[in-house]
């Protein structure tokens, strides 16, 4: 059991009912109040983020997002609790990476890592080191980066790519990759560290990969793709052949990193435009284009709104307020989209 399936449980927790707003509204900015609300709902006192859509488990991705939000809200106490819990409970592997999943009963139930979780944690540590002038965080981040580079950064077809986890993503000569694990602003921060050249290469290859991995009528990236030794990208076998809960983060990270080329944002904006006035589907099968009945969540809509602004397709996406039980993933995405927009100077 590896990271791939964790989004599937989220289906059904998405929002609907976004047709009534008279004029486009932006998701709320991420501020102290937003953080306090987030922490109250998803951060347990011992320092773990609960994935409310996934039976209350915790995982390295959630810890990373939590630390990023705590840093952005300048809540060092919460940040330390999150990092402490992560070290004690997830950093149980001998290679310095985090086990990806922890369950209330049984603790770590899958020791494989999820590379995006490690990346988010390391990025949060670097940001924390900057904000609070805490070298210990930087040292910890450097150790994670070293471990990542050794375990999951590999070469394929002249590209530098990221294995989604250390184990289980080589299928014969091909690699199974997850485009949404390229957290571009994090990779840029890593590349600025001593000896960080490999992260720059990884980011460069990520852009190439995203140009290769466009499928179906909307030319969307798949949640999971397969990259063969000749550099051909196909929708991966053995996973749901779709664009969805994972790949929606692709435009978020690109935007956050300052990319502006409409070519990279148009697929997502076109999808949003196609379903303007009705519900944007949460997933689109690739390459067939069959959409799910489930609507995109509030967090996903926040990403689409940002994307449409950058793609200049002229359509605006309405982002409704959170529902009373908005789940962890939707809420997190919405806050991430707000952070990205704020860092880019967009008006909330």
């Amino acid at each position: 059991m590896t990271a791939p399936s964790r989004r599937e449980v989220l289906i059904g927790a998405a929002a609907a009912g976004l047709l009534v707003a008279a004029k486009p509204v932006w998701a709320k900015p991420f501020d102290g109040a937003a953080w306090r609300d987030y922490a109250q709902r998803f951060l347990l006192p011992e320092g773990r983020i609960v994935d409310s859509g996934n039976k209350g488990v915790s995982h390295s991705e959630g810890q990373g997002y939590g630390m990023l939000l705590a840093e952005a809200a300048d809540d060092r106490a919460a940040f330390d609790r999150l990092w402490g819990w992560t070290q004690r409970n997830l950093m149980v592997r001998e290679d310095g990476l985090a086990a990806w999943r922890w369950q209330p009963e049984g603790g770590v139930t899958d020791r494989n890592n999820a590379s995006d979780g490690d990346i988010l944690i390391a990025w949060a540590l670097l940001r924390g080191a900057e904000r609070w002038k805490a070298e210990a965080y930087r040292t910890a981040a450097a150790a994670i980066l070293k471990a990542l580079a050794a375990a999951v950064v590999v070469e394929q077809a002249g590209m530098t790519v990221l294995l989604p986890g250390r184990d289980g993503f080589r299928k014969g000569d091909s690699l199974v990759l997850n485009p949404s694990y390229w957290v571009f602003p994090a990779l840029r921060a890593f590349a600025a560290q001593p000896g960080g050249a490999v992260w720059g290469k990884l980011a460069d290859s990520g852009l190439v990969l995203l140009s290769k991995a466009r499928f179906g009528g909307f030319q969307l990236p798949p949640d999971w793709l397969s990259l063969d030794p000749q550099g051909n990208a196909t929708v991966a076998e053995g996973f749901r052949k779709q664009y969805g809960y994972d790949a929606v983060r692709v435009p978020l990270y690109l935007a956050w990193d300052g990319y502006r080329d409409p070519y990279y944002f148009r697929p997502f904006a076109m999808l949003a435009a196609r379903y303007a006035g009705t519900a944007i589907p949460a997933t689109v099968s690739l390459p067939g284009g069959t959409t799910t009945q489930v609507a995109a969540s509030v967090g996903m809509l926040a990403v689409y709104r940002l994307t449409c602004l950058i793609a200049s397709t002229g359509n605006a996406v309405t982002v409704p307020p959170f529902g009373p039980n908005e789940d962890y993933y939707s809420t997190t995405l919405a806050h991430m989209a707000a952070l990205a927009a704020q860092s880019l100077g967009f008006e909330p």
Partner: protein, 606 residues
């Protein structure tokens, strides 16, 4: 709107692919101009819509062609720009990297585009735009990329039979469907046909054959279209292709001939069917076309048509024609049997000489010329017509062969050669157990018979061998001896009866030629692969097929088997490729089933 951009008489014709072919839509005034096969924006500023002012010539395309070293297009572009602005001269620094007004040099992107690295070019452009938000790539650069990617989308949709996506991709990128991208136009027409929009398919084909200047391409298009269009539509298409918009220096006679060739194909197919008789008119039509095209395959088909009607002289002339146009053992085989039918044994042997010992079909045919006659050898007195056995073999009448062998034995006694011939005929009749018994008996008889004369003892045979070597090239494999032939026949019969384990065990010790050993080994591997598939040992099946491929080209039935092995290993993409390859060569029920099943599995389209 789908359009086909083609060069024509110095003005760009933008032709709606869905409209009637004669209704050429001229582009807007001054909006676009022509470079061979490429549509060029003269005025890149959106909405400018007028011809450029002198001194404001857009040299983007020019620089692109210079960069990629496409001299032909470069010259055409220079001529075009001169025509637009007579005062204009080509820049002196055409081959130097160009700084652009925004301070961004586009040449690295063009280098990537020229190398076909479109994804890398996109990535580099995005990175540049991140660093220099004020910069925009030139319209020409984006156009080149859109075109390349649009073509890629169209092809990929077509490869995976997503027909509506093919149509959509063409609509989104009309320039991707043009005479210089003829394959895309064919794929679009095919998509329409598969979507049962036959009129649109027809229109697309009509546009191609009336707008694309190359006679060969028009002709190829007619053959492509023959799969989807009715004979009446094909006639219309041919007439159009032979006359519409002729380009100087192109000879469209071959286009007109396409219709007759298609008809010939249909007639030959009919002729090949059991007792399909052709009328004198039809025969004359077929013969004319085959001669005009010097089509060896069709000539061979005609040869068999006459051979099966015992019109040996006609058969001989067609096999001769075929062999003259394109020498092959298939032509030689027919020629041997036709000469034999005419009683011209010397000519028959001569026809087989270049292939003797290297082609089993020629060796088989030669047996009809010199059927084993036991100890009497070649000592029959005086010339005589073909024996009953010869005639049955010439007719490929293998049941008759058994009767003839029986009567020959009744007349002249049992010989190794006669019994061996009986073995071959039994094999042809798919009675391998009896065939094996015959070969065993022949071997026993041969052991008691005196050895046949060797070339060294026979000057004429030695001379013949020397001539063979000269004809067939320096390396002539040693001809099998009679004992080897028996062992070989016996082995083939044992395999046909299913005794692969035994044959496998005995193979190294068998007294047969190396070529025969390789053939048997290939056959064994195929049998084992079949068995592995039945036992659901798919990896083994692939391993065996791979080993066999080292020895011989993989025949169609084994490729199908390979496809199913891959399918069962969940290697769907590979399985699809295999089935598609087979189906593209010749589409049959079983290849279509493979393609369809795999495709449905890949796309969950049950």
């Amino acid at each position: 709107m789908m359009r086909l951009a083609v060069p024509l008489l110095g003005a760009l014709m933008v032709v709606p692919l869905v409209a009637a072919p004669v209704a050429l839509a001229q582009s807007g005034p001054g909006g676009r101009a022509l470079a061979p096969g490429v549509k060029v924006e003269v005025a890149p500023a959106p909405g400018s819509g007028t011809a450029p002012q002198p001194g404001t010539v857009d040299e983007t395309a020019l620089r692109y062609y210079a960069r990629i070293g496409d001299v032909e297009r470069l010259e055409a572009e220079i001529a075009r720009l001169r025509a637009l602005d007579p005062s204009w001269d080509p820049p002196k620094d055409l081959f130097a990297p160009q700084p652009v007004t925004s301070g961004v040099d586009e040449s690295p992107f063009w280098t990537l585009v020229s190398a076909g690295k479109f994804a890398e070019a996109r990535a580099a452009i995005a990175e540049q735009r991140r660093k220099t938000p004020s910069w925009q790539p030139s319209a020409k650069l984006l156009q080149e990329l859109d075109l390349a990617e649009g073509s890629g989308r169209l092809r990929s949709a077509s490869d995976t039979k997503r027909w509506q996506d093919v149509v959509d991709a063409a609509a989104a990128q009309p320039e991707a469907v043009a005479c210089n991208r003829l394959d895309n136009a064919w794929r679009l027409a095919e998509a329409y046909a598969e979507l049962k929009q036959t009129d649109r398919a027809f229109d697309t084909y009509k546009t191609v054959v009336s707008q694309c200047p190359s006679a060969k391409e028009r002709r190829d298009t007619i053959f492509k279209a023959s799969r989807y269009l009715s004979p009446a539509q094909l006639r219309e298409l041919t007439a159009l292709g032979a006359t519409a918009n002729p380009a100087p220096g192109e000879d469209y006679a071959s286009v007109r001939a396409a219709e007759a060739e298609l008809e010939t194909g249909r007639l030959l197919e009919r002729a090949g069917n059991a007792k399909g008789n052709l009328s004198a008119t039809e025969l004359a039509q077929v013969e004319t076309t085959v001669r005009e095209r010097r089509d060896a395959d069709s000539a061979i088909s005609l040869g068999w048509y006459f051979q099966s009607r015992k019109q040996y002289a006609l058969a001989q002339s067609w096999f001769s024609e075929a062999n003259g146009w394109t020498p092959s053992d298939r032509a030689a085989e027919g020629l041997i049997l036709a000469y034999n039918g005419l009683g011209k044994k010397a000519e028959a042997r001569e026809a087989g000489a270049p292939w003797r010992g290297t082609s089993s079909r020629v060796d088989q045919a030669l047996k009809a010329v010199d059927p084993p006659r036991g100890s009497s050898g070649g000592a029959r007195p005086g010339p005589q017509g073909p024996s009953e056995l010869d005639r049955t073999l010439a007719r490929r009448d293998f049941a008759g062969c058994l009767v003839a062998v029986q009567s020959a034995i009744a007349k002249g006694g049992k010989t190794a050669a006669l019994v061996q011939q009986r073995g071959w005929c039994l094999l042809e009749l798919k009675r391998p157990s009896e065939a094996e018994a015959a070969f065993v008996e022949a071997q026993a008889l041969a052991a008691r018979e005196p050895a046949p004369k060797t070339p060294a003892q026979n000057p004429s045979a030695a001379a013949r061998a020397a001539r063979d070597a000269a004809t067939a090239g320096a390396i002539t494999p040693p001809t099998a001896t009679r004992a080897q032939e028996n062992a070989y026949g016996q082995t083939v019969a044992r395999m046909a009866a299913g005794d692969t384990v035994g044959v496998n065990r005995d193979l190294p010790r068998l007294n047969i030629t190396a070529a025969q050993k390789a053939e048997i080994r290939a056959s064994l591997l195929a049998t084992e692969a079949n068995r592995a598939l039945e036992d659901m040992r798919y990896r083994d099946a692939l391993r065996l097929l791979d080993a066999r491929k080292e020895l011989e080209t993989e025949p169609r039935n084994l490729s199908i088997l390979r496809g199913w092995a891959l399918y069962n290993l969940f290697r769907f993409d590979e399985a699809y490729k295999v089935f598609k390859g087979v189906d593209d060569r010749l589409s049959t029920e079983e290849s279509r089933e493979g393609v369809l099943t795999t495709w449905k599995t890949i796309y969950h389209d049950w």
